[in-house]
Structures are given as structure tokens and as C-alpha cells.
């Protein structure tokens, strides 16, 4: 009998190739995801060294950051973007890598495509040159972002050098209130533990709240682990996980499926295993949450006031002042009522079918407030098509939203979707850094999809429950 172990330990051990001279682990990366921004330099380094891709069938590519979401025919209007997509295509062809390109019908944000294709599986290690790779932890995978030199290492060796992190269990029990979503849960966790709180840790999300969550909700939470400083976060695989995966193109099938489910079940953390740290939170304490500042930890309940610089710890004062000045907000004033110029629904945090369903349910029959520019951007081409089959696109269009094609869009500024000047954006994405959405003075307020819709129809940051009534926003 083994002593009880958590999932992280079991998966790490199964993928440990050996110990390197400096004491780090050489870790096998079973699944490698690549996109156009962080891979071309890695392929270039490989070619300079005359090295082949060691295991091409375990690397999967798509294009997301730079694709325009309106006019997508190639060549793209932006020659730099066009050069990047051509480089990805060339590299995939040359090395025999599966590429979900625009023509495939399966293109999308890399963290949306992996799960929907069934590539993301429990008990695997997943790396991608993108920090939101933590999303895939929702399936009970160890999944983390890597730099371009490490993308090169994975291409060349299917391994990377890594120091094993500690594991913190974050347990949230009880029931979420009406109108409180997965996005609020993770914003609340980051607000509580801080943007640095997770440095050196992997997060295990557990407890009644995560047990009840759908896979898409778990992905929203794991996606933002990195915003709390944790390089990865995971939820133990369970019946919800298996039901999501069954029948997906890259999931095992037939007898292999049954064997895989048995293996996956055994990987879940054993009862009574030891963690380096445990944090207990009560679901009832979590309000609909929005950010007010310039990092995701600067978050408050939508009914709360923005911090007053005179009433925070002296060590926090400088950053509060900096954030207030950038956001053009007044310390001590309520965040609700803040004027919104742009509403963005999409990204790898909240750009999946359930997000659009929830948003459409409250949007139906309403219209975007005058002066608000509202765009809805599905996370993948498959999400877009599913929405269109259900008539969700029409709800958005009727309300005055622009209905776009799949990509990262206004989550970051590498495609034509950008804020202008100091526009304030109600955004379902994951980062509110200065300049993140494309204008050096643009302002971002992070929130759940339903709150984005509420902001779009009222033109202000507002508690969605007051706009739609608690009954219509039952989570």
C-alpha cells in the first residue's frame, strides 16, 4: 500500500524522466500545444541547432492571438500577422504537426480547442507557450505555461527542466448565492490570497463548489490560477470530467476508454493525503466580483467601494494610488455606476458555449445602451457554430452586439480588436493590466459574462441581479 498521495504527486512521478545536475526534474510533457506567437522563435532555434521534433504526434497547433475576428480571409491586412500565420503553417507542415487551421473548422483559442477536441485528458502533463495553459488543469492534468526556450526544449526532447512546486488545496464549501459564477469564485480567491499568493504552488481546487461545477466552470477557475501567482491549478477528475470527454475526437474509445477511466479514477487525490498548505473558504462569502485596479487581485464585490488610499496598509498605498490614477477612479467611491464604453464577451476564461448561453438568456429582448460598443467573440469555431445552431448569435445581434469569429480578440492587443484612448471595458477576460487591451491608457474591469451583459445594457458597472432579477441569474 502506498501512503495516500495527491494527484499532483502521482502525475509528476509518472512523468519524471530523471533528476538533472542542478536538482531540477526532467519532466516528460505528454501533450504540447502551440500557437503562432510563442512558437516561431522556438522552431528557429531548433533549425539553428539542426534538431528534429522528437515526438511530433504529441504536439497540436492552432492560431488564435493574431487572427482578425471580422475579416478572416488570407492574406491578412496586417503583414506582420500574416507572416506569423504563414510561419506556423510552414513549421507544422515541415515537422508533421497536427494543425487546427482556419480552414479546418476546428480553429480557436488554444485553451478552448484542447478540451473540446478531447486532447486535454486527466493525468497528463500539458505545456504551451502561454500562461493560461493552467486552464487544462480542470481535467486533472498538470498544465502550465512555458517560455519560448522551453517550447524549443519540448519540441526537441518532449521534456523540460522544472522544479517541483508545493501543493496548496483550496477548498470552497457551501453553496454559491444566486448570480455568483465561477468567475466570481476565482476573482474572490485571487483577491483573498493575492496576486503573489500562489508563487511556488500548484493549486488543487476542491470542495462542494468545485464538485458541483461543470467542466466549463472548472476551466474558468483553473484558467486564472496564474493570475494568483500559481503556475498551475487543477480539479480532481470525476464523473463530470469523464462525461465531458466521452466521444470527443481525441479521447480514447471502446475498450481503451474503459481502461482510461479506471486509470483516471485512481489518479484523483487519495483521502487523507498531505498538502503543503490548505485554505478553506465559504461559498456564501463570495459576491459577484469585479476588478477596480490594474491587476486581477485588485477586486471587490460589485456592491463595495473602491479602496481609499488613506484606509489601506501603508505598504499598499503606492499601488492603490497608481491603480486609481490609471483607472481614473475615486478612492472610497462605489464601483457600481462607473461608466462603461466597451463590453467584451469572450477569451479563454469565458468564451465557451455555456458562457454564451448564460449571457444570451439574460440578454434576450434587451438592447445595448447607446454609446456602448459591445462585441461577442466565441472561443472557438465550434463554439461559434453551436451558438448559431441555438440562435444565440441572433440574440446578441438583435441586442446590438457585434457577433465575431473565434480568436483572442480584445483580450489582448495582437489583432485589430483594441480599446481606443482611455475607454473603459467591461470584460470577461482574465487580465486588467495597464495597456492590456490595446490602448496604453485603456481601462479594463474584469467580471463574469452575465455581468458583462448587464454592463452592456446599462452602460455602467452594475450588479446583474439588480438588472435581471436574481431569478434569471440562478447560477
Amino acid at each position: 500500500m502506498h501512503p495516500p498521495r495527491h494527484l499532483f504527486d502521482k502525475v509528476w512521478k509518472a512523468h519524471a524522466v530523471g533528476t538533472l545536475a542542478n536538482g531540477q526534474t526532467q519532466l516528460l510533457i505528454g501533450t504540447h500545444l502551440i500557437h503562432e506567437v510563442t512558437s516561431p522563435q522556438a522552431f528557429g532555434m531548433l533549425e539553428d541547432l539542426g534538431l528534429p521534433v522528437r515526438v511530433p504526434h504529441r504536439t497540436f497547433a492552432t492560431v488564435d492571438h493574431i487572427v482578425p475576428t471580422d475579416q478572416r480571409s488570407e492574406p491578412f491586412a496586417d503583414p506582420l500577422a500574416d507572416a506569423m500565420i504563414k510561419a506556423l503553417q510552414r513549421n507544422c507542415e515541415r515537422h508533421g504537426i497536427t494543425y487546427f487551421d482556419l480552414a479546418s473548422g476546428h480553429q480557436g483559442i488554444v485553451h478552448t480547442v484542447g478540451p473540446e477536441q478531447g486532447i486535454t485528458q486527466p493525468g497528463t502533463t500539458i505545456a504551451c507557450g502561454d500562461s493560461h495553459t493552467s486552464t487544462h488543469g480542470a481535467f486533472g492534468a498538470i498544465a502550465f505555461g512555458i517560455g519560448t526556450s522551453q517550447v524549443r526544449d519540448v519540441l526537441a526532447t518532449q521534456t523540460i527542466a522544472m522544479t517541483k512546486p508545493k501543493v496548496r488545496r483550496i477548498e470552497v464549501n457551501g453553496a454559491l448565492g444566486p448570480g455568483v459564477y465561477a468567475k466570481d469564485v476565482i476573482l474572490h480567491i485571487i483577491r483573498t490570497l493575492g496576486v503573489n499568493g500562489g508563487i511556488g504552488y500548484a493549486y488543487e481546487y476542491a470542495g462542494e463548489v468545485f464538485d458541483r461545477m461543470t467542466m466549463e466552470e472548472r476551466m474558468t477557475v483553473c484558467n486564472m490560477s496564474i493570475e494568483g501567482g500559481a503556475r498551475c491549478g487543477y480539479v480532481n477528475p470525476d464523473a463530470t470530467t469523464f462525461a465531458y470527454l466521452e466521444g470527443r475526437p481525441y479521447a480514447p474509445n471502446g475498450a481503451d476508454w474503459d481502461a482510461a477511466v479506471d486509470r483516471w479514477r485512481d489518479l484523483a487525490s487519495d483521502p487523507g493525503c498531505a498538502y503543503d498548505d490548505v485554505v478553506l473558504l465559504d461559498a456564501a462569502d463570495i459576491p459577484p466580483t469585479v476588478t477596480w485596479g490594474i491587476n486581477p487581485g485588485q477586486a471587490i464585490g460589485v456592491d463595495e467601494a473602491v479602496p481609499h488610499p488613506d484606509r489601506v496598509a501603508p505598504s499598499e498605498r503606492a499601488s492603490v494610488l497608481e491603480a486609481l490614477a490609471y483607472m481614473k477612479l475615486e478612492g472610497g467611491a462605489p464601483i457600481a455606476g462607473t461608466k462603461v464604453d466597451v463590453a467584451f464577451l469572450g477569451s479563454c476564461t469565458n468564451g465557451r458555449l455555456s458562457d454564451f448561453r448564460e449571457a444570451a438568456a439574460v440578454l434576450r429582448g434587451r438592447t445595448v445602451a447607446p454609446g456602448v460598443h459591445a462585441i461577442a467573440v466565441p472561443g472557438s469555431t465550434l463554439v461559434k457554430e453551436a451558438c448559431e445552431r441555438e440562435g444565440i448569435d441572433q440574440v446578441f445581434k438583435d441586442a446590438g452586439f457585434e457577433w465575431r469569429a473565434a480568436g483572442c480578440s480584445m483580450c489582448l492587443a495582437m489583432n485589430p480588436d483594441k480599446l481606443v484612448g482611455d475607454q473603459l471595458c467591461a470584460s470577461s477576460s482574465n487580465r486588467n493590466f495597464k495597456g492590456r487591451q490595446g490602448s496604453p491608457t485603456g481601462r479594463t474591469v474584469l467580471m463574469s459574462p452575465v455581468m458583462v451583459v448587464a454592463a452592456a445594457v446599462t452602460g455602467t458597472v452594475v450588479d446583474a441581479r439588480r438588472v435581471f432579477g436574481a431569478a434569471t441569474t440562478e447560477a
Binding site: 526532467q26 516528460l28 496586417d78 526544449d153
Partner: protein, 203 residues
């Protein structure tokens, strides 16, 4: 692929004040539309250095007396945010050899170390003293000793923190791990063979 061992960094410094300086600030995403890292140094901190017309906003990096500085001094949680290696690449390509801060974001630290960019952490009071010394004298030499994890400037020496794994690989010229990873091909194959999802799909 033997690399130059890095035991010391000596050079003039520049202070970029602020906590939580994230990778979007270090290199704004719209300058990442490139297929090589060449030339990224020009876009380091672009949005806080130049206005829309390309006029200087008076950022410390653009002060003439700071030209040629090789040690970047900043605040807490430097390099938070994205995993983009473009951030440390831009810093290195702008001529820096070390970053000194109260703490570093994890992926940024790992990416930097791989490039041989020394990331030394100092206690907040020491960091304030170092910042003041560097600010006061653009010609002051900042000397970082990797093995001892120390930083000397203006006649004072400060004890910093650099994890042992980083110290060792820097001093041994093994901060780029690729050669060592490549050397273990048989062990990689054996590990992969034990993992059904990697092995099964093998063609």
C-alpha cells in the same frame, strides 16, 4: 552548447520604479507580432517610454546618463503576468545583464535564468537603499556576486537571494538546459513508453 559561465555582473544601473510590473508593460503585446526575437529591445517598456507620436515621456531608460546601463532595478513581483519569453528577451536585447527586485514572478524568473539574465531578489529596505544609490549617481558601479548572492553599490554590500538551482546553472554555464535534456534520450523513451496516452498514439 557550452555557455559562458556567469559569476558576476558589473555595470551601471537604472531604476524603473513600481511594484507588479507585468509582462504587458515590459513588452506590450502588439510588439510581439514577430517571428524572431531580434530587435525586441527597442520596444522594452514602449508604452511608458514614448507617447503615440513617438515622443519621449521622460522614462528613466531614456535619460542620456543612463545609456549603457546593464542592471535594471525595480519593485515587488517583477515580471508578473504572461509566460512570454519576449519580456526577458527584450530586457536582454536592450543590454541588461541583471534585474534586481523585491521578488519575481515565477515564469519570468525561469525564462530569464534560461537566457542567463541574473534575477537577484533583495529585502524591501535593501532594495530601497540600492534604488536610492543608483538614482543618486548614474556613474555608480553595481556589482553582483552570483555565488554569494550579494550586490554592492556605493560602498555598501547587500545580501540578496538567488535560488541555489539558478546560482549553480549560471556559474557552470549550464543555464540553458537543452544539452542536458538531449543527453537523456533513452530515459525519455522509457518514460514515454510507460504512459499510454503518449505511447499508444506512437506511429
Amino acid at each position: 552548447m557550452a555557455l559562458e559561465p556567469i559569476t558576476h555582473v558589473r555595470g551601471r544601473g537604472v531604476v524603473v520604479p513600481g511594484d507588479d510590473i507585468d509582462t504587458d508593460r515590459i513588452i506590450p503585446a502588439r510588439y510581439m507580432k514577430v517571428v524572431t526575437f531580434d530587435g525586441l529591445g527597442d520596444f522594452l517598456f514602449r508604452d511608458v517610454r514614448l507617447d503615440d507620436e513617438g515622443r519621449s515621456l521622460g522614462h528613466p531608460l531614456d535619460a542620456p546618463e543612463r545609456a549603457g546601463a546593464t542592471v535594471l532595478v525595480s519593485g515587488r513581483n517583477f515580471g508578473s503576468g504572461s509566460s512570454r519569453e519576449h519580456a526577458p528577451q527584450a530586457i536582454v536585447r536592450a543590454g541588461f545583464r541583471a534585474v534586481v527586485a523585491a521578488s519575481f514572478a515565477e515564469i519570468f524568473f525561469a525564462n530569464s535564468t534560461t537566457l542567463g539574465l541574473v534575477c537577484l531578489a533583495l529585502d524591501p529596505e535593501d532594495l530601497a537603499a540600492v534604488s536610492a544609490a543608483v538614482d543618486a549617481d548614474p556613474t555608480a558601479e553595481v556589482a553582483i556576486d552570483v555565488a554569494n548572492q550579494t550586490l554592492a553599490v556605493g560602498g555598501r554590500t547587500f545580501q540578496g537571494r538567488l535560488p541555489a538551482t539558478a546560482r549553480e546553472v549560471l556559474a557552470a554555464g549550464r543555464y540553458d538546459p537543452l544539452a542536458e535534456l538531449l543527453a537523456h534520450g533513452d530515459r525519455i523513451a522509457a518514460t514515454a513508453a510507460r504512459l499510454p496516452y503518449v505511447a499508444e498514439a506512437a506511429s
